[in-house]
Symmetry: C2
């Protein structure tokens, strides 16, 4: 038997058919087109599933269940997407919209949670009962696995780790609060930090790589320049590491996971990023002589969204 | 049958025999005397239990188990107190030290966790599967209950909520980091805040209540003066409320509990404190139109420590 995983993003919908070994045997992608409204997008998700099943030479009878990771929060029991800020969704009855395409169990969860599940079953946190996954991208998302099950909380709003407040009167966040962690630890934070120094430092590698154009700045440019020991890039990078450590120490002080896995675009910096984070966390950890969470790179990259969503239909991955 | 609960504090050891209805039928208290070393204190805890059993006209055959809440962290499986900063304890084999006094199952947990368990079984969070208890005293402690069980994390260091960092470069904390939440939300924070304004404001009720002597300042004086609309006290109180809201929003963004219960000395301010905290949280909450944790006063007061510790021996209160 197979399960289908859908990774709903602001730009594209990716989906894949996953076999019992957790391998994607067929996958596809279509534009989200969120301007058409939630119903049209949900119907496209349904059609994409049927399309993939056909291409794989299967029928829906071969499919056990369908799971979707969404960039927001969902009430899985009701099959309703409660909120997706980027898509403008609020109380979208996704299961109802998709049911005409197939009558299969449909599971919906936050995309960070879904990726955390994938890592905990087959990636960096495999074998851990309790783990936290962080996706360091445009923003910062989180996924919490407790006792081997995805943890979303009774109101489905848990694991919004990017919005923990680390500076009471800090930078304005898009969420309305100030000083949210993602203001300092997203890919966007690296870009903003570098651009703030750009005009005054034409000697910097940051300037050379962008020709002084802030629009051309990327997290990768900042990290590559920091690798070359560029002075300005190091300032931005070191600050990034410091704030990563602050949030990770708070994660440890909260739920003390076995492993914290770092995924998302910024994590492609690899050990160059993770090792200084480990060192900064060691300095800040509350109990200095007691073991605490390992900090590791996520290993499943882009497939985590599809595979994790497909896993939602498997036994024992959802909390009661 | 009965269980015994021990509440180990820096100043006193309180203990009580608790019946199947969760009522304390006999209780006693002795000085901790931590300067004598961990073994002597553990032996005193053992003797106190025997003493109470005798006074109640029982024998140890009537006692199912003994639980202890400690101001630090413990490995319950091993019966070892890993760390109690205030007592200077590190890797104390408490079970081994107490076993000569009685051969009963001994359970050890963090005191905030234990009080959270008591509240979740018989207090403010009764009936909730998932709740957070905060003790607002000299410092700020936390207890997390997930799925009806105490949550301590795989390394036993979870729920140190007072040490989440809310100001990356904020006030120096005793733990070595800067900007820990308890620097702004403990009873000590109210005292420090009021004392910082004292000398410049002889007209303030804060001054009148203390005669201008910082040593005489208390959290109660600040709260009572704020009730009277004293301008300086209101500044300190409003700042306290603001920081409480910041931390509570982060708790919600993490684990989204059903209820957050406020206990400890500062919580005696009652609804005068809790209502403005609720209003400040409502302004900062990430998902504005989705239900989230109720914020309530803890109801079990001082007995929570003994009753919660006694409950550790009951089925299904400990995570696997």
């Amino acid at each position: 038997m197979y399960t289908i995983g859908i990774d709903l993003g602001g730009t594209n919908i990716a989906a894949g058919i996953v076999d019992d070994n957790g391998k994607i045997i067929m996958q596809g992608e279509i534009p989200t087109g969120s301007e058409r409204g939630a119903k049209a997008v949900c119907e496209d998700m349904g059609r994409l599933c049927l399309d993939l099943v056909q291409k794989a030479g299967l029928t829906m009878d071969d499919i056990e269940s369908v799971g979707a990771g969404v960039p927001g929060i969902a009430n899985n029991e009701e099959g309703v997407v409660l909120f997706c800020t980027n898509l403008g969704w609020h109380d979208v009855p996704a299961r109802e919209y998709m049911q005409p395409f197939f009558n299969k169990p449909l599971f919906i969860e936050n995309d960070g949670t879904v990726a955390g599940l994938a890592e905990s079953v087959a990636g960096a946190t495999k074998g851990c009962k309790t783990s936290v996954f962080l996706t360091l991208g445009t923003g910062v998302g989180g996924g919490i696995i407790i006792d081997g099950k995805v943890y979303s909380g009774p109101h489905h709003i848990a694991s919004e780790l990017g919005h923990m407040i680390v500076e009471a009167d800090g930078d304005q966040c898009t969420c309305g609060n100030k000083g949210c962690w993602e203001r300092y630890t997203s890919g966007g934070a690296l870009i903003r930090g570098a651009n703030a120094l750009l005009a005054d430092h034409p000697e910097s590698l940051l300037y050379k790589a962008t020709g002084g154009d802030p629009e051309k700045m990327s997290a990768k440019i900042v990290i590559d320049a920091a690798r070359e020991n560029d002075e300005q890039a190091k300032i931005v990078f070191d600050r990034y590491v410091e704030y990563m450590a602050i949030g990770i120490v708070t994660i440890i002080n909260f739920i003390d996971p076995e492993v914290i896995a770092l995924g998302g675009g910024v994590s492609r910096a690899g050990e160059f990023l993770v090792q200084p984070i480990r060192e900064a966390v060691a300095k800040k950890i509350f109990y200095k002589n007691v073991p605490y969470a390992r900090i590791e790179l996520a290993t499943m990259r882009n497939d985590a969204g599809i595979i994790g969503a497909a896993m939602l239909g498997k036994d024992n991955t959802l909390a009661n």
